[in-house]
Amino acid sequence: MNSEALQLFWSFGPFVILLSVIGIYCILVTYNLIRALIGVEILIKAVTLLIIVVGHVTGHTALAQALVITLIVIEVVVIAVAVGIVLGLHHHHDSLDIRKLRNLKG
């Protein structure tokens, strides 16, 4: 890890942070289940970018791409299952409102 790579890394770093903030903000404030999943997606985009950037600046692009491909497969499966659960919740509540999800508490 040389200083040049570090500098290059930090030129991309701020955007990763910005994307994460947008994603987390979306998860926190939305009242819609699907939007929450979109927030998660944006978080994953941020981390994908981070991996690619790291691979790029350290010269391990091949490894980074291998990781990203696996990550994308996992992402799809997680989203598919999550969408299934959202549909199930919609079936029960007849709405996508997150505020309905307060049955379990205490």
Partner: protein, 614 residues
């Protein structure tokens, strides 16, 4: 040869597990197992009594836990006593619990307790001691819990109180091990400096709480009503005193250098004195046979703690002698209580009376034990109390006075108890009461005879059992056995006892049947004015005295309740307030939870990054 020590653990534990495994419906084998196991235990203890054995086997070296046992004169003494009481009480219980469904469980836990007590007494490693000690906590809980319906609550109370003090013991053990650099008990001898004092106090809390001293006593009176009766005779009556005082004397004699006049010694004496006086005050106003005894079980601990706390040889000898004496007469008293309960069906003093003629042997045993506990010469309690008086006087007059006053009330309350239960008018429903079965009488008689023997021939226990515990140089120039050296003290004691008797007569006259007999003279037309005045003038001091006693009893009651309140209410309330806050915080809104996580993450990240900059 030294492996024989393991038998002290294996025999009762295996027998206990066997007893648990036997199906509920089969009764005979359980009793056979209990009697043979306790008998074998007694035999072992008697055979090896004079030997010096040690067993060592590394167990968990990483935390300094070795399976190391040491059998020498002190532990042999406690083991022998345990075995003897265990056998006698087992004999008694086979009859007294014959109609109880929980008998099997009781016997199993009884045997396991004996095994654990043997282990605790034998263990020469602090952590091993803790292991057995915690095990005793569990069997204590289980033995109370098998009793009647409300027993579970009492059991939980006992578990919490003893559990908390056991935690103190644990802290003390860790601290002691840390200070001494070893966890082998026989290798520790620490000075009582600041940290050492702290360790001593923690260990002491564990020890005196096991013995049932104030302020860790409040489960005992409750257990008296709820737990099976042999339990009371066995654990709070005899065994817990034996192990608790054993540990107390071990820590004050061997583990730490306790000097007369040190703050720890004074503290022990204060604990002892307070326990004596408050518990006996409580005992005085009780209206239940077992509950009254249980408060005495607490009060007598005060004498032992006081004696050992003086840290002078005569006090220690007195305390230890009192320990074995107390175990004898207190278990005997509980056994008579059990006999009364079994035969008359109640232990409520208001429903008892005149049983003396129906149950003469029980009554005789009661008298022997009661005069022993009251300290009437020449029974055993007298000699041990005299030794303690002597040591208390040497330290401070106040302690002596407290001890003597305690003795006065002890005598008074036993006169009351004996009078209410065995004398007076026989109630109609008790017409058909019979003497207890022989198997219940035999243990009582043996123990009562023991009280007499240990009194008259007190050289035997003091020379054979107790004096070897102290190092020879500390005994130099002292004579403990035989008639007390200080005749003045004996005279005072006798005066006090006589005072107690007179006081009783007086009370009976005023309130009891004696008073009613003279009612017609009292209310005669002319005389009643004179009587009124005479009564007012004459009896006022008594009334005032009674009131003061009542107030003190009330205060004692309040203190007792306050301690109870701290355990039952304050701790619980604070805990539940926290609990409710935490529950309210969990609103079910996952965004809230996410915010917690993110805040946690940011704090952690900032903290770690800061640490890197340094």
């Amino acid at each position: 040869m030294d492996n024989v020590l393991l038998l002290f653990l294996i025999v009762p534990l295996i027998a206990g597990i066997l007893a648990l495994l036997i199906p509920k419906k089969v009764r005979g084998p359980v009793e056979v197992i209990v009697l043979s196991a306790t008998g074998l235990n007694l035999l072992l203890a008697a055979v090896f009594f004079k030997s010096n054995l040690a067993y060592f086997c590394p167990w968990v070296p990483a935390i300094g836990l070795d399976f190391s046992l040491r059998f020498y004169h002190f532990s042999a003494f406690i083991i022998l006593a345990t075995a003897a009481f265990g056998f006698l009480i087992a004999l008694y219980s086979t009859v007294s619990l014959s109609d109880k469904t929980y008998a099997k469980h009781f016997f199993a836990y009884f045997l396991i307790t004996i095994g654990l007590v043997n282990g605790a007494v034998l263990s020469d490693n602090l952590l091993l001691l803790l292991f057995f000690w915690e095990g005793m906590l569990v069997t204590l809980f289980l033995m109370i819990a098998v009793g009647n319906k409300s027993a579970f609550k009492t059991a939980a109370k006992a578990l919490i109180i003893v559990g908390i003090t056991d935690l103190c013991l644990m802290v003390g053990i860790v601290l002691t091990g840390h200070l001494a650099g070893t966890r082998t008990i026989s290798g520790i001898n620490l000075p009582l400096d600041a940290l050492g004092g702290l360790a001593f106090v923690f260990l002491m809390i564990g020890a005196i709480s096991k013995a049932g001293s104030m302020p860790f006593h409040s489960w005992i009176p409750d257990a008296a009503l709820d737990a099976p009766l042999p339990f009371m005779a066995f654990l709070p009556g005899a065994l817990e005193k034996l192990v608790g005082i054993y540990l107390l004397s071990r820590i004050s004699l061997d583990l730490f250098q306790l000097h007369p006049g040190s703050w720890v010694s004074t503290m022990l004496m204060i604990v002892g004195a307070v326990t004596i006086i408050l518990a006996v005050m409580m005992a005085l106003v009780q209206k239940d046979y077992k509950r009254l005894l249980s408060y005495h079980a607490i009060s007598q601990v005060g004498y032992m703690v006081l004696g050992i706390g003086t840290a002078i040889p005569i006090g220690i000898i007195g305390g230890l002698f009192h320990m074995i004496n107390n175990a004898m007469y207190k278990s005997c008293l509980f056994l008579t209580g059990g006999a009364v309960e079994k035969q008359a069906g109640t232990t409520d003093l208001e429903k008892l009376g005149g049983l003396g003629l129906k149950m003469p042997i029980t009554f005789a045993c009661f008298i022997v034990a009661a005069v022993s506990i009251s300290g009437v010469p020449p029974f055993n309690g007298f000699f041990s109390k005299e030794l303690i008086y002597d040591s208390a006087l040497e330290r401070n007059l106040i302690f002596y006075l407290v001890a003597v006053i305690g003795s006065f009330f002890t005598a008074a309350s036993f006169l009351k108890l004996g009078h209410a239960a065995f004398l007076g008018k026989l109630r109609d429903e008790h017409r058909n009461v019979k003497e207890a079965p022989p198997l219940m009488l035999v243990p009582m008689i043996i123990i009562a005879l023991g009280c007499i023997v240990f009194g008259i021939y007190n050289k035997l226990p003091i020379h054979a059992l107790i004096q070897p515990i102290l190092s020879p140089e500390r005994l130099e120039g002292h004579q403990f056995a035989g008639w007390p050296a200080n005749t003045a003290l004996v005279v005072i004691t006798i005066i006090v006892l006589a005072g107690a008797f007179l006081n009783h007569r007086f009370g009976v006259k005023k309130k009891g049947s004696g008073l009613k007999a003279v009612d017609h003279i009292h209310y005669a037309p002319v005389l009643h004015i004179i009587y009124d005045k005479a009564e007012k003038r004459f009896f006022d001091p008594y009334n005032i005295g009674l009131k003061i006693i009542n107030i003190i009893s009330e205060i004692a009651w309040r203190c007792d309740r306050a301690i109870d309140w701290v355990y039952d209410t304050l701790v619980v309330k604070v805990t539940y307030a926290c609990t409710n806050q935490i529950r309210k915080a969990h609103t079910g809104n996952y965004a809230t939870y996410l915010v917690w996580s993110l805040v946690g993450f940011l704090l952690i990240a900032v903290f770690l990054l800061q640490s890197g900059k340094m």
